[in-house]
């Protein structure tokens, strides 16, 4: 209640005091010289402000209407012209309405005495230190450690010490290949001219080492690791060795003599691998071949892994070329 009363009194005092001139004071001497009034420039500025207001309002109207064709463009036009008109108005104000004057301020002359004095002050301020070098080393150590602490999270960008897990995959000798639906892949169902994605039976498909791409080539065309293919069927890791994208393209010539040879291609940066030559890089930024998985056909005609990958799976990291794949 008391607060309300105080507010009321304040409002009455304000209202009764309105319009009354404050106490007249002696005019202060001008700092900036009086300028000529420029009514034309003032009018221009007023018109520009008015137009800017209209443009701003137009934005609100267009936004609220929400059924114009090309609404995005109209919105952009409205808000853009509002900004442009305001900028124009400010330019006119700066050029024609604000009193300007040129003042030259002399640059202070260099004084060697003052400089020496500062150096002396700095040197003398340190007189309380008895072991300056030790303190300097300690300070440098603290700052250096802080810098290192800021840099250490960069280690999360890639494994540095514990890379063993990167060589292990779910693939091992005798493991069956299954398709997206979990059905085992039959060797006879694999056709030439197309590609298949397969996973290790009963393993986590989300692991980088799990998905493989399977293609069939004429057995005579396979140049490297002929014994890794089963009836012309070869399998490679589906993860590109460059940046870890899925190798989702299979380039297959309709007529081999006049067209580029078959290749597995990564759509991210066009790394191109030769399925007939152990996944060798034909083109693109990948630095090492696509890891190959040896295949065999079991008694039931299903495809099985005949071992582990020819190299570490997935994008490259420090020291990737030092190890062989393990399982």
């Amino acid at each position: 209640m008391t607060r309300l009363r105080d507010w009321l009194i304040a409002a009455i005092v304000l209202a009764s005091g309105r319009g009354k001139h404050p106490m007249t004071r002696a005019p202060k001497p001008r700092i900036v010289a009086a300028g000529e009034p420029d009514r034309r420039a003032e009018n221009v500025v007023l018109i520009l402000f008015l137009l800017a207001t209209v443009a701003g309002a137009a934005f609100i109207v267009v936004y609220a209407l929400d059924r114009l064709s090309h609404q995005t463009q109209w919105l952009g036009l409205a808000i853009g012209s509002a900004f442009a008109l305001l900028a124009l108005a400010s330019t006119v104000i700066a050029h024609h309405l604000v009193v300007t004057e040129e003042i030259v301020e002399p640059y202070p002359r260099e004084s060697p005495d003052a400089q020496e004095e500062i150096e002396q002050i700095v040197a003398e301020s340190g007189s309380r230190f008895t072991r300056k070098r030790l303190v300097t080393v300690a300070g440098a150590g603290a700052l250096g450690t802080l810098g290192a602490a800021l840099l250490v999270p960069a280690a999360s960008l890639g494994p540095l010490l514990h890379t063993g897990g990167l060589y292990r995959t779910a693939w091992r000798r005798g493991r069956r290949l299954v398709d997206e639906g979990g059905q085992p892949l039959a060797a006879d169902a694999i056709e030439e001219g197309t590609f298949y994605t397969a996973y290790p039976e009963g393993a986590d498909r989300e692991l980088v080492g799990s998905p493989i791409v399977v293609v069939r080539l004429p057995p005579a065309e396979i140049r490297d690791r002929k014994d890794w293919a089963a009836r012309g069927i070869v399998a490679y890791s589906k993860i590109c060795t460059h940046a870890g994208c899925a190798v989702a393209l299979y380039r297959k010539p309709t007529f081999a003599p006049t067209q580029p040879r078959p290749a597995l291609v990564c759509p991210c940066h066009y790394s191109t691998f030769d399925p007939a030559a152990g996944g060798a890089v034909l083109f693109g930024p990948a630095g090492r071949p696509l890891p190959q998985l040896p295949l065999e056909v079991d008694g039931a005609g299903h495809l099985r892994a005949a071992g582990t990958f020819s190299g570490p799976v997935g994008p490259s990291w420090w020291g990737v070329r030092m190890g062989k794949a393990r399982s």
């Binding site: 995005t72 297959k252 007529f255 759509p267």
Partner: protein, 244 residues
């Protein structure tokens, strides 16, 4: 009298119809010999190694026995064939044959061997098609079927492809494209993909100007680029005036 006329008419028809069919076959064979045989062989047996053919073209091409009406319909109606240089990638061109000539050629190529017929796509689901297109096609043809590049080939945009041509291409795998069996993409899934590609020809562009049909992002990026260039220009002008 009337009976005799009837009998004569029937006789004439019986004699004429096979000869008309034979004439059509002959036209197909003649067209094939004139336009296709330098690369595909006189009887469609293919030309495995480069040999000088008609019109000075060094012919070399795959056999057409068993490709069926499906492949002939696709390659002729897209203008992919005839190809001037067998080492070029076939691309969508003006179709040089008349409708009748195309039909004769398709019939002739289909008669070379036992091949698949021309497919007829049916209505499918756009959303399922989008999923399938992303899985199987978008790697090369891009998410909204605008085409692009793979190493060694241009990937055509699908804006001009008819429903039938899409259904044919998935099964044929023209040039470097892999072909997809009915096991990899079922006929029902193929209908869905066709539905999505049809949608992708005229997508619902949310970003105003359809720069790449990728939504509002490219439009905004282009705007920022233009704005940055304009700002640099203004700064240069102001600087020049201040120095003057």
């Amino acid at each position: 009298m009337r009976a005799v006329v009837k009998l004569l008419t029937v006789l004439v028809l019986v004699l004429l119809v096979p000869s008309a069919a034979a004439a059509k076959d002959r036209r197909g064979a003649a067209l094939f010999a004139a336009n296709c045989s330098s690369c595909h062989g006189l009887n469609g047996q293919g030309v495995p190694t480069s040999t000088p053919g008609a019109n000075g073209v060094d012919g070399q091409g795959p056999p057409l026995r068993g490709v069926g009406a499906r492949a002939a319909d696709f390659y002729l109606r897209t203008g992919y064939m005839p190809l001037a240089n067998p080492h070029d990638q076939p691309s969508r061109k003006h179709v040089v044959f008349t409708e009748q000539e195309i039909r004769s050629l398709i019939r002739y190529v289909a008669s070379l061997g036992n091949g698949p017929p021309i497919p007829t796509p049916r209505p499918g689901s756009i959303s399922a098609g989008r999923q399938l297109f992303t899985d199987h096609c978008a790697g090369c043809h891009q998410a909204i079927a605008q085409g692009g590049y793979v190493t060694g080939a241009r990937v055509p945009p699908l804006t001009d492809a008819t429903d039938r041509q899409i259904a044919e291409a998935v099964r044929i795998g023209p040039y470097l494209m892999p072909r997809f069996s009915t096991k990899a993409i079922t006929p029902a899934q193929l209908n869905d993909i066709v539905a999505y590609v049809d949608y992708a020809k005229h997508p619902d562009d949310r970003g105003g100007w359809a720069i790449g049909h990728l939504g509002p992002w490219p439009e905004g990026a282009v705007t920022w680029l233009l704005a940055a260039a304009a700002l640099v220009g203004i700064c240069t002008l102001l600087g020049r005036r201040l120095r003057a």
